[in-house]
């Protein structure tokens, strides 16, 4: 399987998905296009581009040629993003950032514990003070008001 063929297939599937999901939106007429008119046109375009990529993708690099040396670190960073998304409003900005930074500095980068604590506490509290207290950008405080 080549990169272009896989991405082309994905575009075709996405286009078909949009066509299917669009059915609940009125199409309208060309005189008065409804909310489903433009999505349908775009879905057709996506399918068209997908088919071109599949048809012309024989010579593109193979999927196996993509290297993923950074994948473990990337997965950990991604996990931090998801953790932040799910918990920041529940436990507050400062605690979330302390945990995320502590994990990245301590577990991922294996820094010394005193440096991890200094950086994690410094950045989480410092950024909260800068944005929330100084610049009046409200950041979540969580259930414990922290």
């Amino acid at each position: 399987m080549t990169i272009d063929r896989l991405s082309g297939a994905f575009l075709v599937l996405l286009g078909l998905f949009v066509v299917w999901e669009r059915r609940v939106l009125p199409l309208g007429t060309s005189h008065h296009p409804g909310p489903g008119y433009a999505p349908l046109l775009l879905a057709i375009l996506l399918i068209f581009f997908g088919v071109i990529l599949i048809a012309g993708g024989k010579g593109s690099p193979r999927l196996r040629s993509i290297s993923w040396p950074e994948a473990p670190q990337a997965a950990a960073i991604l996990a931090c993003c998801i953790f932040t998304t799910l918990l920041m409003e529940e436990i507050g900005y400062r605690l979330t950032m302390f945990l995320v930074l502590g994990f990245l500095f301590g577990v991922m980068e294996r820094m010394k514990i005193w440096l991890v604590l200094t950086l994690a506490i410094g950045f989480s509290l410092g950024s909260f003070w800068l944005f929330d207290s100084l610049l009046r950008v409200p950041l979540p405080r969580g259930g414990w008001n922290f």
Binding site: S7, P33, A38, F49, E70, C81, V100, L104, L119
Partner: protein, 507 residues
């Protein structure tokens, strides 16, 4: 509103207040830092710092954010010259001769010429922006929905051609971006589209989470685990003065780079990057000693560095006069203006003269500040380069989260940022460009609105887009670009766009 002495007075009266001077200075300094640090581009910088402008009025906010934008162009050269790593993509070409000069002990001269060229190009481009934007806006006042729709379609197609890589992939990214831009309430009928019961998606997917995810988070993901040790050449302060010969050799390249950069900057696409390639190629071709290029030719620094600064300011012409961003960075600037209740477009200069002329005046002063500050502070910026990446990337992640959350105080936006981060990371791996996707998201509401209005005007006749001359011209240009983009695919040849993609990857 034409360029007049009164308008300039208005602009300088706006900017010459202690607060606005401070914001201009701050923007320039932050921009330089953003440009210096590899992995933190101006786009991520502006997005991350957008929340800091919420308490400011619109003029101060745009002065600060624009300062970050053009300041980053100055800063990018420092890393290129001293480390042979482009601080941001527009400084790729500076790596070649800038670093070669640094190896020969002429790092100071390269930095000085880069700063002087950037200053000259930046200032002359503001003159161009000042004279070109108002008449262009006046011309665009005559645009109806068909012209506007065709202009935006043309802009997106030109962007997909100029961005480099496969035009089919770029066009599919535009379609995907437009699709993402459709999520939320349809502004003409009030229907919820593709929001799956999430009320937070009613307002649609914001530009800031999309841009930060695609450029900031995906960059962090892609560079995770990269080596931490970097060799930095530290220039001595007394070496910062270029020789007379170096100054003389730089005059021509700076002038040519400015004109080229400004003209290319107006065109949608990776203008600030393309302009440096064109400038470097031009200087090499015009040189009596082309063999010096790559070995430390001052022209190879002066031309591209002037061009990228001129291009970044040229990109403000269509943004401010037409409301059409030509790349992801102007798109985020557009979003920032909208956050502050200002919609750039043909009426912007007429209705918001204080903001427009204040911005113009701030750019004159900002370029001067950058010239005066950048050289003496080069030691500080060099120290910034010594901050290990393992400390830097968690900090960038923190700023990304704050920047995205603060726009709407919404965790859904943080979630969108994360999803876009994964998408951007995968798209990079599969050789897709993400800039067209961002532009698609930004422009979707305007394109769809004008498209549906145009069809309603013509009783459903698509011919309205070719019957109106201006609209027809835009569509013809779009077709030409598509055909040019397809040419290398049909003939199986490499063109300049593929080389651009390779250079961007190496950056």
């Amino acid at each position: 509103m034409e360029v007049s002495f009164q308008n300039l007075i208005l602009g300088f009266a706006t900017v010459l207040t202690p607060a606005n001077l401070l914001y201009s200075l701050l923007g320039c300094l932050i921009g330089t830092m953003v440009g210096v640090l590899p992995g933190v581009g101006p786009l991520a910088g502006i997005s991350m710092l957008l929340p800091t402008t919420f308490g400011l009025d619109a003029t101060s906010a745009i002065i600060l954010l624009a300062g970050i934008y053009y300041g980053a162009m100055y800063g990018g050269s420092t890393t290129s010259i001293l480390m042979r790593i482009p601080g941001e993509a527009a400084s790729v070409m500076t790596c070649i001769d800038g670093y070669a000069m640094a190896r020969k002990g002429r790092a100071g001269a390269a930095l000085a010429i880069s700063a002087i060229g950037s200053y000259a190009a930046g200032t002359l481009s503001v003159v161009g922006l000042m004279f070109l934007a108002p008449p262009l806006a006046r011309f665009a006042l005559g645009f109806g929905p068909p012209e506007y729709c065709s202009l935006l379609v043309c802009g997106l197609v030109v962007l997909s051609y100029m961005t480099g890589g496969s035009i089919v992939k770029n066009l599919s990214m535009i379609a995907l971006g437009l699709m993402i831009g459709m999520i939320g309430i349809d502004q003409m009928s009030g229907y919820f589209r593709f929001s799956y019961g999430l009320v937070a998606l009613g307002d649609g997917v914001g530009v800031v989470p999309v841009a930060v995810g695609l450029f900031g988070i995906s960059e962090i993901l892609a560079t995770a685990g990269s080596p931490d040790r970097r060799e930095v050449i530290k220039p001595r302060f007394r070496d910062l003065l270029p020789s007379k010969q170096e100054l003389k050799d730089s005059v021509g390249p700076i002038g040519r780079g400015t004109v080229l950069g400004f003209m290319i900057g107006i065109i949608p696409g990776s203008a600030h990057i393309i302009s440096t390639f064109v400038s470097y190629a031009l200087e090499r071709r015009m040189s009596k000693h082309p063999e010096r290029f790559g070995e430390g030719a001052i022209e190879g620094v002066a031309g591209p560095e002037s061009a990228n600064n001129a291009a970044s300011e040229g990109a403000l012409v269509p943004l401010l006069a037409l409301g059409v961003p030509t790349g992801p960075i102007p798109a985020v600037l557009l979003a920032a203006l909208m956050v502050h209740g200002i919609s750039p477009g043909p009426l912007f200069i007429k209705e918001q003269p204080t903001v427009f002329w204040g911005l113009i005046a701030s750019m004159y002063l900002g370029n001067l500040m950058l010239l005066l500050l950048n050289l003496p502070l080069v030691g500080i910026f060099v120290n910034l380069l010594r901050v290990p990446y393992r400390i830097l990337y968690p900090t960038i992640l923190l700023f990304c989260v704050v920047g995205v959350y603060a726009v709407n105080s919404s965790m859904v936006d943080v979630g969108i940022m994360s999803v876009m981060g994964i998408l951007g990371y995968l798209l990079r791996k599969m050789d897709f460009e993400t800039a067209p996707l961002v532009l698609g998201v930004v422009l979707e509401p305007i394109i769809e609105y004008s498209f549906r209005q145009a069809l309603a005007m013509s009783d459903g006749a698509y011919s309205i887009f070719v019957q109106r001359p201006i609209s027809a011209v835009f569509l013809v240009v779009a077709w030409i670009m598509i055909l040019l983009g397809l040419k290398p695919l049909i003939k199986k040849t490499r063109d300049w766009r593929e080389r651009l993609t390779e250079a961007e990857k190496s950056a």
